[in-house]
Amino acid sequence: MANQETKMNSGWADQDHVPGIKSELMELNMGPQHPATHGVLRLLLETDGEIVHKCTPVLGYLHRCAEKIAEGINYKQFVLYTDRFDYLAPVCCNHAYVTAVEKLMDVEVPERAEHLRVITAELSRIASHLIALATFGLDMGAWTPLLYCFREREAILDLLERIAGGRMLYNFFVPGGVRYDVPDEKWTADVLEFVTMLETKKVKDYNQLLSYNKIFIERLADVGVISQQDAFDYGSTGPVLRGSGVSFDCRKDDPYSVYPKFDFEVPVGRGEMGTVGDCWDRYMVRVREIEQSCRIIRQAVDTMPGGEVHAIGLTKPVKLPAGAAYSRTESSKGELGHYIISDGGQMPFRNKVRSPSFCNLQIIEKIGVGQMVSDLVAFIGSLDIVLGEIDR
């Protein structure tokens, strides 16, 4: 057994086993249309049998010029392009953008709007994490959690549809507030009911079905270990960084909106099943973040004040003074930042987006090497990338 393993790891390619026969690495295209690459990610692998010797991500298949488009449309219109970055958690992306605009705009966002923003952003984060669990389980061969997670996500979509009108792309935030107030009194009650149901029943179900399943643990423990130093070096953020045991969360460490008012924890990877920073840790951070998001939502609903929901109205054009602003917020994938340079008009001069998935993906060049191809699939799943955000 041990003998076989050493043979596999050293590889055949660079050895001269049989004199006169030359062997070389095989180039393998993984993607862009591959079920395990979560979108149109293309990986250029150099493999020796099952072992990956080089792994290069090739991006750009979903490039839509969002940053360039931003220079040609006004600030309000661009909000709905941010929806399309991370289509699994669009509200979080809205949040990053409007925060940057408001920094320049010098506007007081009504308290009620901030609460609604937090509630919808956290609901969106939960939806995104549910997809992350579901597809990760699917990559590992577990079909049932996918169906259950999608069922709960559907409930979130219904709630968001009732308040924002869209099922997937909400266009809910405007600079200076949110677009609509709650539809009726029942909405908040339904949010609380859903959150309680998720916390008490569903998360437990997922844990029993997937997280603490022995086969799942064996498959993921000690696979794709990202050390703390690597995570820092490659600029990882979000659950990838926290999975490596670093407690960093923009909501806590660089607070924006009304997050400082709420009491929540930042779950980090603890290496319960293997090494700190392995795939299981990153997975588990997401499960625990769902619970924390539920806590935030409950507090936000309970303390929601009355009043207006937008400071400048929906129809008034937004004009920013000349200047630059950078805002960073915690989206479901990590630190999402917008850098806006304004020249005083209705459109930005430049809008740079720092997208978390893009930075999180880069580490694959280092960690992917030396793994088996099948472990690479697990590794990509645990990074939870979304290609809309990488390519923009």
Binding site: I73, T144, E154, Q208
Partner: protein, 184 residues
């Protein structure tokens, strides 16, 4: 050796725990809908296809300017009192159902409907024409609109109490103009 059997036991037992959850679901009500027969209940704010009540629209172009993807085409001819709307079309190849056009409309003419499942055979047929200029044109000037019985927005701004508010009462007679509605 003991480790080996413990592992097997844990694998089997944890799989059983998961199985029991799955089995419980057999008796639950299905959450899926059999789509064409069963329809989802849509929320009042649902954003479906855009509906334009052509009786109210006076070609002010605000919606076309607000639209982030420039998919509303408005064409007019003539000037002043003799200005007519000849084309109002929405290109659903481009529309992203963002509802921004409905927010600025001063006449509340354009709204989001609850239709969501139109399907056509050609891409060209997704450009919905709301006016057929060969049948009729729609007047844009206020006086002409009153004359022809189209809906005119009563100005909501009442900053100073204006004396004699009953100078004109154009709005209510929209009954006989209804049949001139849109040609979708």
């Amino acid at each position: 050796m003991a480790r080996y059997f413990v592992d097997i036991w844990q694998a089997v037992s944890s799989a059983m725990v998961g199985m029991s959850i799955t089995i419980k679901h057999i008796w639950k009500k299905p959450v899926t809908l059999q789509y064409p027969e069963e329809r989802q209940v849509l929320s009042p704010r649902f954003r479906g296809f855009v509906h334009n009540d052509m009786n109210k629209c006076d070609a002010c172009q605000i919606c076309a300017r607000t639209c982030p993807v420039d998919c509303i085409y408005i064409e007019t001819e003539g000037k002043g009192k003799d200005r007519w709307l000849t084309r109002y079309a929405i290109d659903y190849n481009k529309c992203i159902w963002c509802s921004m056009c409905t927010e600025g409309c001063p006449a509340n003419s354009i709204t989001m409907s609850h239709d969501y499942d139109h399907s056509v055979y050609f891409r060209e047929s997704l450009v919905y024409e709301y006016v057929d200029p060969t049948v009729k044109k729609i007047p844009c000037h206020k006086e002409k609109r009153i004359e022809l019985g189209y809906h005119v927005m009563v100005k909501p701004e009442k900053k100073k109490p204006v004396e004699k508010p009953a100078a004109e009462k154009p709005a209510p007679e929209s009954t006989e103009a209804d049949d001139k509605g849109e040609t979708k």
